[in-house]
């Protein structure tokens, strides 16, 4: 356990170094958050039907997406691991006296945390201070907020378990771009990153509810705005745990199979 903790710490500190990149990223995220909300404002302005989500909740949803982008997006990737696999340096990794799955997991967790911590506070402030339909609102009660934090962190854990499959798939495809893209595109759509899950038609919602992606982003964000009542949120946490356990077990099994057939060429 100690080893993984120090891997995590090292990664975390090095992740905090890229400050200019973080500022640039923040500007981009602010811009996108703003544009997305502007589109929704236009849609809401002339709608006769009552949508299942108020504009206020929607703005909050979008800002949370942007603020915790590093937590929820599947795009985030560690090229180091890809290079290890394709260049054959994976051999060194196999010599280490610790499990590869946990080792990579700790690494990825640290990166996402560092990136989110660098970026979240400024965006949070700006989003709170924006004028009316564009602003981020406070959660209704302290208990909701506590639930939000728990679900968000569990969501992060689930998300990393999903992204591990991208890395594992490289053992077979040998080039990371393809599998990242397919998993990321489908996953992000099902997580409500393109349009929020409550605005999808009911048959599509049924699909998203049956898959793990939605638990990484959509669920915590709606807990925050109080759209999902607290009693339901507690059940949701349980489901998150089940998904997490299932995905990690499956991931470990796949990795074991991949490693069994790995051939490292000398050079």
């Amino acid at each position: 356990m100690n080893t993984y903790l120090s891997v995590w710490k090292l990664r975390f500190v090095s992740g905090l170094q890229y400050r200019t990149a973080a500022i640039a990223g923040m500007a981009t995220q602010l811009f996108f958050g703003f544009v997305f909300i502007m589109v929704y404002v236009a849609f809401y302005a002339h709608s006769s039907a009552q949508p299942s989500m108020s504009l206020e909740q929607l703005a909050t949803y979008i800002w949370l997406q942007q603020i915790f982008l590093a937590f929820v997006m599947l795009w985030f990737r560690d090229n180091e691991i890809f290079n290890l696999i394709t260049s054959g340096n994976i051999a060194y990794e196999l010599c280490r006296p610790c499990g590869i799955y946990s080792f990579w997991y700790a690494k990825l967790l640290a990166q996402r945390l560092a990136s989110a911590i660098l970026r979240c506070i400024p965006i949070l402030l700006v989003a709170f201070l924006l004028p009316k339909p564009y602003n981020l609102t406070m959660p209704p009660t302290a208990a909701t907020f506590a639930l939000f934090v728990v679900t968000l962190l569990l969501g992060l854990a689930v998300n990393i378990a999903i992204s591990m499959f991208i890395y594992i798939s490289v053992f077979w495809t040998m080039s990371p771009v393809g599998s990242t893209l397919v998993i990321a595109v489908i996953g992000e759509f099902l997580a409500g990153m393109i349009i929020p899950v409550p605005l999808m038609p009911s048959w599509m919602q049924a699909i998203t509810y049956a898959l793990p992606f939605r638990w990484t982003a959509d669920f915590p964000f709606r807990v925050y705005s109080g759209q999902i009542p607290q009693s339901e949120a507690v059940w949701g946490i349980l489901i998150q745990f089940v998904w997490l356990a299932a995905l990690i077990l499956l991931g470990r099994w796949c990795l074991k199979r991949a490693l069994r057939q790995v051939v490292v060429q000398g050079g």
Partner: protein, 260 residues
């Protein structure tokens, strides 16, 4: 030109080597805009219309911009990835060769998988045109072609301009994505749904509105008078790319190798 085709064929062969990944990538590239389109469709299913625009009109808008973005990304990808060339000092090698730098950078990267994305936009284009109650006359078709070609010019201009900036900054600048990716995201919808200042910015500073929204009014028969002006507004794209190319030449002159 011959050299350019040579570059392309070499890159195609190298990319087709990783077969599984290549196909996954092509499928993925076609899927990205597909999920966006599905999002668009669901939004209209929920709300019906946005400021008087129907789904098929918005889909046409989206297809045109998607097509020009995909085309310029396929061809001008080299500029998009240019900062790594400067950072590693490899640009020196390009300078000593007896061909223009623009040609060499254009030929340095060429992503065939983007063709999946292009195909998808093309299908949406025909689909929305067939659903819309408009008569396709020759001038309208011509305007559509002009829109796409000039859209490619604008996006390529943006890529070249951001690449030129990396002569000074060495590192790539992520903020530039606001204009390329962000511009594409915005122009997906008819510009009139946004707030006034945003519309103005994307009409007069980065003329994406000129290749998309204004001529579309003409194609959809929503204009009153001055049809020629709406028809020819995409030519703003030609005007836009010139200062970008100029910036590139200044940048090359300014270039100092990182030496590594």
């Amino acid at each position: 030109m011959y050299l350019y085709l040579k570059y392309i064929s070499i890159l195609f062969k190298s990319q087709a080597q990783y077969r599984l990944s290549f196909w996954l990538l092509t499928v993925g590239q076609a899927l990205t805009p597909l999920t966006v389109l599905a999002g668009l469709y669901f939004m209209f299913a929920q709300f019906g219309q946005v400021k008087g625009w129907t789904f098929y009109e918005a889909a046409l808008c989206y297809a045109v911009i998607g097509l020009s973005y995909a085309l310029s990304e396929t061809f001008a990808r080299g500029f998009d990835m240019f900062s790594s060339l400067v950072g590693s000092g490899d640009f020196d090698r390009l300078l000593v060769r007896p061909r223009s730098t623009i040609l060499q950078v254009l030929g340095s990267k060429f992503e065939f998988a983007r063709l999946g994305r292009m195909l998808q936009s093309l299908i949406v284009l025909f689909w929305s045109l067939s659903k819309l109650p408009i008569e396709l006359t020759f001038p309208k078709l011509f305007t559509l072609m002009l829109m796409i070609v000039c859209g490619v010019l604008i996006f390529s201009g943006l890529f070249v301009a951001t690449a030129s900036l990396s002569f000074w900054t060495i590192q790539g600048i992520e903020v530039a994505n606001v204009f390329t990716d962000g511009g594409r995201e915005m122009a997906k919808y008819p510009l009139s749904i946004y707030e006034k200042w945003v519309t103005n910015f994307f009409t007069y500073v980065i003329p994406l509105g000129c290749v998309n929204y204004l001529p579309l009014l003409y194609v959809l028969g929503r204009t009153d008078g001055h049809q020629l002006r709406y028809m020819l507004s995409p030519l703003a794209g030609v005007v836009f790319i010139l200062p970008c190319l100029l910036l590139w030449h200044i940048g090359v002159r300014h270039y100092r190798s990182t030496g590594s």
